[in-house]
Each structure stands twice: as C-alpha cells, then as structure tokens.
Point group: D2
C-alpha cells in the first residue's frame, strides 16, 4: 500500500529499543547521526513503515510511523510535563470523547492539550489558556507537528481571571493555584460537566477540594496513580528497581445545577 511507503517530508520514528528512539523528518540526500552510526535518508525513502534500515555501523533501526504518544514524548518542554499515566486518568475521568468542548489551562508545552484534542476530534474543541505569552508560541510549534491544531484554540489569558466559554463539558487544570479557578470553572461548565485538576502537592489538593465543596460541585474525589514497571523475563521477573514515586494528585468533581450568572 502506497500510504505505508516512506517519502521525503514524512515524520519518522527511528527505533533502536524502548529507551532509544529518535523522531526525525525524512530529507532527501541528508542523514541522521546517532551513537550507533548515521542513517542515510536515501536508504529510507521508498521502504515501508515498520521495516528496518541499517546504519553506517551496521546497526538495525526500525522505521515507525510516529504515533501521538511518540510526538508527545518528544515534545520540547521547559517545565515538567504530565505523564501518560496521568493523562490517561484525566481523559477517562473527564468523560470527554469525540465532540466534547474542553477548557484547559495552562497550555504549558502543549502535551496535555494535544492529548485532549486527539480524543475530541473531529467535532470537538480544546480551548487552551496560557498566561505566559512566550510559552504559547513554543506550545504552538509542538502542537503543529502532531497535526491536531485544527481542534485547538490557543488563548492568552489567566483562567483565575477570565474564562470566555460557556457550557463546556470539562475544565481541566494543570497550574499552581487551581482553587482560584473553581468559581469561574463553575460558571463555564455545563450541568453534569467534569472538573479535573492535577497538582503535585497535598496542600494544593486540600485547597482545591475545599473550594469545590464550597461551590456547586459533588462527587469530589482525589486519587494518585502509582505506576510500576515490571521487568518480565522467565526466571528474572520483578518490578523495576528505580521508579517514579510521585508525579501528582488528580482531583475530580461534577458540577450540579445551573449557575446564576450575575
């Protein structure tokens, strides 16, 4: 099938092993250098995705068409990005899907923004707010590579001060003071809509929970996802020695009744 044939201009994931992968753009007459030798793109063009190519040091690289996860993992970021385990729970708990309208803040590097856009396609929209101007352009570059920009509106603004949208299905926060957003989230959400917040510290979680119970929210719950990687091999099976012990807490809630707008 022609669509599975690699062409100049395509994005490509060069895969050596689970921990060593490279996301590159295929360019005629150029090559990509690794510690295992260089890969000549002319050797790659015309091959099928999923096949292999040999580097100049005779090492095999698998040629994968990048998935969304690959793009997200390779996004440039200034600060800590959200992990797949937490993105997964946020998406699940928020009840969003194709067609959902979502307010998200802060945009950060655009990792969570892209993931949300992936799931609300093709008829939904992610309204992503970021207060720091310089971050927005960086996020835009990251997101454009994923091809999901059509489902995202990047907005400069501080969601503790202003949320333009109404009747959205979910408000999803990854910022320092989520409790200050709760009254505006209440106004922006449709009845039954989901509030989700990710915070590294327990004190943030307590303040957010208190704000939610003082506003029109029920079903206020906080969880933490501890992900253990298991080294699986006959006779040597055991959880990995080093692990990420904590990323953050996820607090969720469900909005009740219509908010009386002043």
């Amino acid at each position: 099938m022609s669509s599975s044939e690699i062409r100049a201009g395509d994005d490509l994931l060069l895969f050596l092993d689970s921990k060593r992968t490279f996301l590159v753009k295929v360019k005629k007459d150029e090559s990509f250098h690794t510690h295992k030798g260089y890969v000549s793109f002319n050797d790659v063009i015309g091959r099928p995705f999923g096949g292999t190519v040999k580097s100049s040091l005779d090492v095999d690289f698998i040629l994968f068409k990048p998935t969304l996860s690959d793009y997200l993992r390779k996004m440039r970021h200034a600060t800590q990005v959200i992990y797949p385990k937490d993105t997964a729970l946020i998406v699940n708990y928020s009840n969003i899907g194709p067609g959902s309208r979502v307010v998200e803040a802060g945009t950060g590097s655009g990792v969570l923004t892209s993931a949300l856009a992936h799931y609300v396609r093709p008829t939904g929209k992610v309204y992503s707010y970021e207060a720091r101007t310089e971050r927005i352009e960086k996020a835009r570059k990251n997101i454009e590579r994923t091809g999901l920009m059509a489902f995202i509106e990047l907005k400069e603004g501080d969601v503790t001060q202003r949320i333009d949208e109404e009747n959205v299905d979910a408000v999803i926060l990854d910022l320092a003071t989520p409790w200050l957003v709760v009254p505006l989230a209440d106004q922006a959400l449709t009845v039954g809509g989901s509030f989700l917040s990710f915070s590294p510290t327990i004190e943030q979680t307590v303040k957010t929970t208190t704000a939610l119970t003082e506003n029109a929210f029920v079903n206020v719950e906080t969880v933490e996802c501890i992900l253990r990687r298991i080294k699986v091999k006959e006779g040597q099976t055991r959880p990995e020695t080093l692990m990420i012990g904590h990323t953050g807490y996820i607090t969720r809630a469900r909005k009740i009744q219509q908010t009386k707008l002043p």
Copy 2:
C-alpha cells in the same frame, strides 16, 4: 435549553453521594424506591438535569444525565470487570482515537468494549470477539443502553483460533490465555499497531511476553497501575485505609514489519 429538561423515557442518574447512585429510566406515573424513601418520576419530569428532587422521606437526590462512566459502572456482569484505571491506560497505550479499527476479546460484559467504542467514534469500529454464546446477548443488552452499538460488531468466536480482520490499529485482550493469541494478533495488526493485554497473574504476563518477543513485536513492556484514593479534608488528609491492591498487569507491544500471510 429543552435538551436539559428531563422527559419520560430518559435515562437518569439519581445521585445521593459518591457511593450511592441509581441508574434508572424515567417512567410517567411510576416511582423508584430507595432506603431514603421513594422518588416519584412525575416530580422529576420537566426538571432540568443537574437539579434536585426530594424523596418521600424529604431527602435530596441530584438528577444527573448519565455519562459513559455511569453506564459502565452500572453494567451487569457475571465476572470481574475491568476497572477505569486499567481502561484508561489501555486506551492511552493503544494510541487509538476517532477512526481507529480495534479487535477486542473477550467481550465479557461489554464494559471495555463500550469504552473503546466511545473513543473510536464516529468513524472507527470495535470488532469484539466472545467465545461463550450466552455472554454475547448479555453484553449486547449492556452496550445498547450506552447507545454505542453502532460502533461495535459483536462476534462469536475464539481469537486463539481465528481473527477475521486485517490491518487493524490495535488488538486488545482480556482473556485467560493471551499468549495463544499472539501469532493471530501479529497477522491482524497493521505495521506499528498496538498489542495490549490485561492479565491478573504474573505467570500469564511472563508467557505473553515470551510469545511477543518470539513474534514480530518490539517495545514489549508490562506495567501495573496502583490507584490510591486520598481522603482529602483539612486536618484529616490521608490515603484511604482499604484499597484495591491489585487488579492486573497490562502488557503492551508494537508490531513491526509486514507479516507474510501463507
């Protein structure tokens, strides 16, 4: 908005608190009995979703429009169903989204089937195999309530013996002997497609991992998600005393190269 007004025939979630909710169908002149008194549906009809109603014992119930999560939580099931934490990771790791074509087995009660269908809408499809005939009709009833049947094909069959589809984006397994499915999953998957398997025991995980590494798969990884619920309240914050300590391991892998069909 008229769509937010409750009418006879609507599904309704009566919400008392996070642990006590009731999924009912609104029927004119009838009522629903709980340990906190009965709710007369005639009192409910015409009210907005997200509002409240008083039971005969003067207890407030919130009137929610059910979400997919509500339907999944209330599905009738004969055996252990998959938890949201595991569904969330399976969806995330599989890279599926709107438009994806997925093979799933076994159908079981239809919980995972429905969740997958929710995300591949409106142009994707879930081909769900179940070997036990009597289960299929029960799953169909569960799924029909969610309104997602249009995106699902329920198939009677044993995926260790036969998978009809080709070039699917993901093969997702929750059955006793996933390692026996690996060769057929290899043939069914598109290059770069995702293999996902959920298993309660470590021995199943070892056998599945061995089978994957002996077939055309790379990036073979196993994780376990430990979800901790936190009781958050100023001055009393702590993880909950009792928790679900284990549900199962999730093994994932990525298919390389075209399989030569015989």
Copy 3:
C-alpha cells in the same frame, strides 16, 4: 525435651490456618469450642508443642507455643492498634536494642509497649505514659500475658506536660498531637537519641516536622510503609486483591547537642 511438652496452665496457640488461630490457656478437664468442633484440653496435655490434636469434628489443630507476635495479634484493644510493619520500622529506625531506655506514649492497648520491651530486654526499660487512667489497667492485663511487665513501667501522665526521664535513647510517640511533645522529648533524649512518631494524617506529620526543625533535631525524615501481600502459587501468583492502603506516616529525627535545662 520436657520444656516442649504441653502442661496445664500453659498458654497455647491452636492453629487451623493462617487466618484462624486461637490463643487459649490450657485447663485440666476443660475444652475450647470452635466452629470446627471442640478441643478437649486433656487430649492436649502431655503432647509436644508443634504437634497436632483432633477436635470433636475430627479436624486437625496444630499446637503452637505462642510467640510475641501471637500475643500482640490477640491483644484486646479499644482503638486501632499499630501494625507489625510499622512496629518493625519504628524499632529499626530508633536504633534501640538490649539495654536501651525508651519513653513511649500513649500506652494504648500495650501492643507497641510490649514489642519495645521485647527488644530492650534484659537490661533496658520502657517508660510508657498514658493520659487516660482506664486504659492503663487494660494495657497492664494485655502486657502481663506476654511476660514482659518486668521491663516496662506504666505511668499515668500527659507527655505534652511532663516527661520524668532524662538521657533516654528514644522517645516513641503514637498519639494525636506529637508536635506538642517535641520540646519535652528534646529535654528527655540523650544526645544522638531517636525521636519517632507515628501519625495517620499528613497534617499531623507536617506539624511534627515543623516542630522538630525548630528544636534541636536533625535528620528529620518521614516515610510510609506500604505492605503488599502476595498470593504465591504456581500459575496463580499475584498481589492480593484487597489490601490495607494506609495506616500512618512514620517521622523520625536525631537529637543534637545538650539541652540547657532551665
């Protein structure tokens, strides 16, 4: 060996399986009734510890000489008692051993008191404070059964107000407001001595940590021990489904320099 022969007046652990054990006193001409029939003590007297006896329903019970763990597990208690996993860490972190002098509060049911006494034998002492008079006599009964009373001094008193001892090797707390004890613990401890506190909530832990860093303590650390039980059986190995998700946090610190007593 005569010491391994069971005699009237001995304590005895009747062991059916890991979850069903009975701690009894052997009495001539009497019997002990269980849901698996009764055991006649006359059948038991003269048998060796570690042997078995048949109940009236022909069920085998193993005849164990009780260990300290057996006594601790069977102690009568009004409130939550400390778990072996937490006792184990407290003993290890406190650096106590034979000969150590330890201040402990509150006595509670005497479980932790007995465990500490077990390790400071034969030349050390546990000074155990309890503010509620009625608890002291109950604890005394529990402790007397273990035979460890000679190494314990039960004291009525509130350690936020008064600690009589000086130059003790460790101060070990399991009470509601450990941060209020920190200044007196500082005075009671020998230089290099260990402060240990067990608290269920994170807010208690934060207050205690703050108090320690404001007094003469270094090496202030908080840990939580999550114990997973594994069901081990060829082909069915997996962590247990239900687990204790949280008991409490353990905060420890080490005292520096001599405190100037006023």
Copy 4:
C-alpha cells in the same frame, strides 16, 4: 559526662546533612578531608558527642557517636545489600530477640548478620554461613567495626548441603536458591521456629513457597514492603519523585512437628 566526650581512637560520624555523612576514626594530629573543607581531629578531641565542629571552610559538622544503623549504612559491600526496611520486617517476622539462636546465610557483607546479632544480644548467637571464602574475611572486617563479633559465628559452608545447628529459633536466608535449603532448614529449626527468605524475583519466591508447603511448614506467607519517602514541608508536601520501586519479596513460614532425623 566523660563517656560523651570524644577521644582519640573513637569512631565518629561527621554529619553534614541526611545524605552526606562520614564514618571516621578519630586520630590525634590528623584530619579528614571533605568537599566542604577538612576537619582537624585535634579540634574534635574533648568535645561532646552531639556537638559541632567547624571545617577549614567554616562549615559546621555535627559530631555523632555512630549507631548500628550508621555502621550498617557504611559497610563495604561487593553486591547489593539488604535495605533497613527489609531487615526490619525480617527481624519482626522472625520473632527473634535477646537469647535467640539464629542460622543465617549467606553472610555477604555482614549487614544483615550484624543487625541480627544486635537483637539476640547478650545471650543469643547468629551462626552465619557463607560459601565463598573470600567474602568471609571482608564480612569479618565489617562486623568487627560494629563490636558485635562476640554474638556471631562466621562459618564457611553451603547451607544447601549442611547446617550443623539444631533447635535454632530462626533460619534466615538471603541467597540465590532458598528452595534448596528448605529440607535442611526444617531439620535445623525448633518446633514453632521461623523460616525467613528474601528474594528479588517472583520465580524464586514461587519455588521457595512450593518447597515450604511440601515440607513441615505452615503459615507460609509472602509480602513486599514498598517504602515511600515523603518530602514534608508546609505548602510543599508530597512523596519524593524518585523512589526505590523494588528490592525483594520476603517469604516466611513456621515449622511444625519434630523432624525425624534419619
């Protein structure tokens, strides 16, 4: 008190912070160099333990009398040593205390050996077997520094082939093939005595459990201790980001009935 005054020849723990400590021997006219300047021992001699000294770069070091934990943490070791969390559970589960007689294997670097000796003092004994001759002398040096050698007998030998002792209170194993030791452990243990084994992999645990249930053991249980360090600070409280995810499984069992020696 003169015993708290530091003298030439004393062991000393120079404490900068929880992660930077140095275990040294005080030598007249000599000094100890660190990245924070050197400490002149002549400045140290005559000061009290628990006081401080300034380095040549004017940095304060606290002067602690080393505890057993300090010695164990600083022991030289060729291979992975057992962590305090696991030592703590092994000691607790084994029911040992002052006066207990314990068989341990392999000696390794002597960390667990020393910890066990600490608790069986002053009348008990640890019989520690090591099959590799070169390890024994290294372990001896480590142990001698702790002052616990009087309570330990280091023995060269392979416990899968021979255990000399009888009627011991506990057999404690940290070696590659614990299941091969089970029949000899059965013969060496007193009735009601404790079998304890620490193994990194699940396959070792399964084999050991099978061997125990086929010999004269009951109460066979396996646990894993997951220790989480919490960063506690008002407004910034959270579990630490990086953690040790796995060290090993602890399997325990209790011996029943007299073994018929051939």
